[in-house]
């Protein structure tokens, strides 16, 4: 066992001291939030610029009020002369409202020099719709005050009482974290599984492997490699979590709220009329406090422990298979033919996560698929918040059984494969190796 530790140590150290590892580990947490921040910043700045829209309103009923996004200027007709005047101006657009029936508002046209964005078109439509709506309500003899009081903003608290005590949950947040965790496992299975295969091929093609297996059992070498690489993965994730956390806290302190959130609210408010906005402002603070509460209320221990379990379990399961493939071939190019059956379940798991689990994490298919060892590391992470305790236990046991099986199978192929050079390998040959005695 001491020797397995030596191998783990070598695999681990030879990877974490590489420049590329340090680069990826420390740059990714800086790059991702930075990109998010930059996109958010650009999007916000873009919107701040006020667009001037000329309104030629033949119906005389659409009273649009300017705000920080749009500045509306009424212009006189006829349309042709309005158009030509607009053409020679710097303004963004010319809105033509024909003489319309309020209940059938058709034929409105926005003339522009540039193509307007979809959010901009939607924003403008929303504004017009609410004006028409207000006009209709007034025509139904409702006062402006009553009209304002119709607008409400609601935010529902969700409380999970299944665990005995009342726990405030935010299905959006915890589900999101589960999804991210599932995706992270997917990503690492590919990135680090490939490294296992590469490492095995390297040992085989550099011929060092014969010396090594004269000192340890092939199985020990395989396990040492898989465990060494999985430790690298765990270290990397831990560094990422800490760094991303730090960067996010830093960014939050700088902007006030995260840029994405700010952009979201910006877009949402755009779609509501002015009266509602105030109410949202007031409920916004309450919401923020709620989000902070929820972050504190998240079952971090459960998430982290289950993440590490599924990460290691999934990696043992797939890492062993990647090692078996590496042992069977002489070059990475030869490995292609065996990669499909390994990669397929990983990709399928991601699809199931994004389609089936996303739709209903407690549906029968979600539950049963999260028990299948080939899928569970990715799927169960995504529905961790919804799963019953027994489901998690069964899923974990299945995963242990699953990786015990693939490791056994891979070990049998590996012990023969690493000493075979230049032989043409297909599935029949792999089967022969696996069933070979001794």
């Amino acid at each position: 066992m001491n020797k397995v530790f030596l191998i783990v140590q070598r695999e681990f150290l030879s990877r974490v001291t590489k420049k590329s590892f340090l680069l990826v580990t420390f740059l990714v947490p800086l790059i991702f939030p930075s990109v998010g921040f930059l996109v958010g910043y650009l999007a916000l700045n873009d919107d701040v610029e006020q667009k001037v829209i000329r309104v030629y309103d033949e119906s005389k009923s659409i009273q649009l009020e300017s705000n920080e996004r749009f500045s509306f200027e009424a212009v006189e007709g006829p349309l042709d002369s309005a158009k030509s005047r607009f053409n020679s101006s710097e303004d963004f657009g010319l809105l033509h409202v024909p003489d319309i029936n309020m209940f059938e508002p058709k034929g409105m046209v926005l003339y522009t020099m540039d193509n307007p964005s979809l959010t901009m078109k939607n924003g403008l439509e929303n504004r017009i719709e609410s004006v028409i709506k207000a006009n209709k309500l007034i025509s139904m003899s409702l006062s402006k005050e009553k009209l304002d009081s119709l607008n409400t903003s609601v935010s529902i608290k969700t409380i999970n009482i299944s665990e005995g005590e009342e726990k405030e949950t935010n299905s959006g947040l915890s589900a999101g974290i589960g999804m991210v965790a599932g995706f992270l496992i997917y990503f690492f299975l590919f990135a680090y599984g490939g490294q296992v295969m590469q490492g095995v091929i390297e040992e085989k093609s550099s011929k060092i492997v014969e010396v090594i297996v004269s000192t340890v059992k092939p199985f020990q070498l395989m396990m040492g490699k898989v465990l060494g690489i999985v430790s690298v993965g765990i270290l990397q994730i831990m560094i990422w979590v800490v760094l991303i956390g730090a960067v996010m806290v830093g960014a939050r302190a700088f902007v006030g709220t995260s840029p994405q959130e700010k952009m979201m609210t910006e877009v949402q408010t755009e779609m509501l009329d002015d009266a509602t906005q105030e109410k949202i402002e007031s409920s916004k603070e309450e919401k923020m406090a709620q989000v902070m509460d929820e972050i504190e209320g998240l079952p971090f221990t459960k998430i982290i422990v289950s993440f590490i379990f599924y990460f290691i379990g999934g990696f043992l399961l797939y890492g062993a298979l990647f090692a078996a493939v590496g042992s069977a071939v002489d070059t990475p190019a030869d490995a292609q033919q065996f990669m499909v059956p390994i990669m397929l379940p990983i990709i399928m798991a991601l699809f199931i996560l994004m389609v089936v689990v996303q739709k209903d994490p407690n549906s029968a298919s979600s539950v049963w698929l999260s028990m299948v060892p080939f899928f569970s590391p990715i799927i169960m992470m995504g529905r961790m918040e919804y799963a019953e305790t027994w489901e998690i236990i069964v899923s974990m046991l299945c995963l242990v059984g699953g990786f015990a099986f693939t490791i056994w199978m891979a070990g049998r192929i590996y012990r023969v494969g690493i000493l075979m050079h230049g032989s043409k390998v297909n599935y029949k040959v792999l089967w022969k190796w696996m069933t070979m005695k001794g």
């Binding site: 550099s206 014969e210 010396v211």
Partner: protein
């Protein structure tokens, strides 16, 4: 005392027999030549001794004890296919390989440094293997094979990959190690390369051992009683049991003659008879080379 005893070893791979009932004994502190053509089963036997693969049948003992994991530290193995971790530094690599053989870290470090110095590679301690020349990498590999001071050193085709300078260096190191008490197994199909070094040999052909024993005894058994005579002045011989196989003129009146004798005569008798006939300048018994013996044995075997 034999350091290694292999008894009735058989191993077959799907439909192909690699070793068939092979038994060998390797005496302590000997240089043992495991000889045979490519594909004879030498590497299979070596892998079995190294516990890389298991025999289907038969048993191996080392120092009288059944082969087990504790013997790994007693064996040093240089496989036919050489290789090191290319991206790993020379020093780290030696320490790692020594640790895998069971040496504690501190000792592994000391021994690695000692051997690197001995082989003149001190400046390369912190360099990656991929930056080394092929000859230097070979030296590093040799160091990794012997630095844990194994009792049994197994060298598979030791001279095939080495350049002549390194080959000589390694020959010297091997002899030194033998004198210190190591036993060395040479496995090769190039028999002339180990002929002078070995004191014991075993020949393997087509998965079976066809011959083994002390080199001098093997050679004696295959002696043909052919003597090479260098002399001045031609002669002819009418003697029972002695025939002239060939006679060549070297220069002027100098000749080289091959004489074959049957077993009834001793060399001294022959010399006595020759003294009166010619001026003897040299008289030596022609010994069969290991290669000749092998060929004879294999051809004899194939005729059966």
């Amino acid at each position: 005392m034999n350091i290694l005893e292999a008894q009735n070893i058989s191993k077959s791979y799907a439909g192909h027999t690699a070793l068939n009932d092979v038994s060998i004994s390797i005496p302590n502190q000997s240089i043992f030549g495991l000889l045979g053509p490519n594909g004879a089963g030498k590497t299979t036997l070596i892998r079995i001794i190294n516990q890389i693969i298991e025999p289907d049948q038969g048993s191996i003992t080392i120092n009288g004890e059944a082969l087990n994991q504790n013997h790994i530290g007693l064996i040093g193995y240089l496989p036919e296919e050489r290789g090191l971790y290319k991206k790993m530094k020379v020093g780290e690599q030696l320490i790692y390989l020594a640790q895998l053989r069971g040496l504690p870290t501190k000792e592994a470090k000391e021994k690695s440094k000692f051997w690197i110095k001995k082989l003149g590679l001190s400046d390369w301690w912190g360099k990656k293997v991929e930056d080394l020349s092929k000859g230097m990498a070979q030296k590093v590999q040799f160091a990794s094979t012997v630095l844990h001071e194994p009792e049994l050193i197994i060298l598979d085709e030791p001279f095939s990959g080495f350049d002549p300078v390194n080959a000589n260096l390694i020959k010297d190191e091997i002899l030194e190690l033998r004198d210190k008490g190591c036993t060395i197994i040479f496995s090769t199909h190039r028999m002339e390369s180990v002929e002078q070094l070995c004191d014991h040999v075993a020949m393997i052909n087509q998965s079976e051992k066809i011959l083994d024993g002390k080199k001098s005894e093997v050679k004696a058994a295959f002696k043909k009683n052919v003597f090479l005579l260098k002399h001045k002045g031609s002669f002819s011989l009418e003697e029972n049991g002695v025939t002239i196989e060939s006679q060549e003129i070297l220069e002027d009146d100098y000749y080289e003659t091959k004489l074959k004798m049957d077993g009834a005569h001793a060399p001294n008798e022959l010399i006595q008879k020759l003294l009166s006939k010619t001026e003897i300048h040299g008289f030596i018994e022609e010994e069969p080379s290991i290669n000749d013996i092998f060929i004879e044995k294999v051809e004899g075997g194939n005729h059966e």
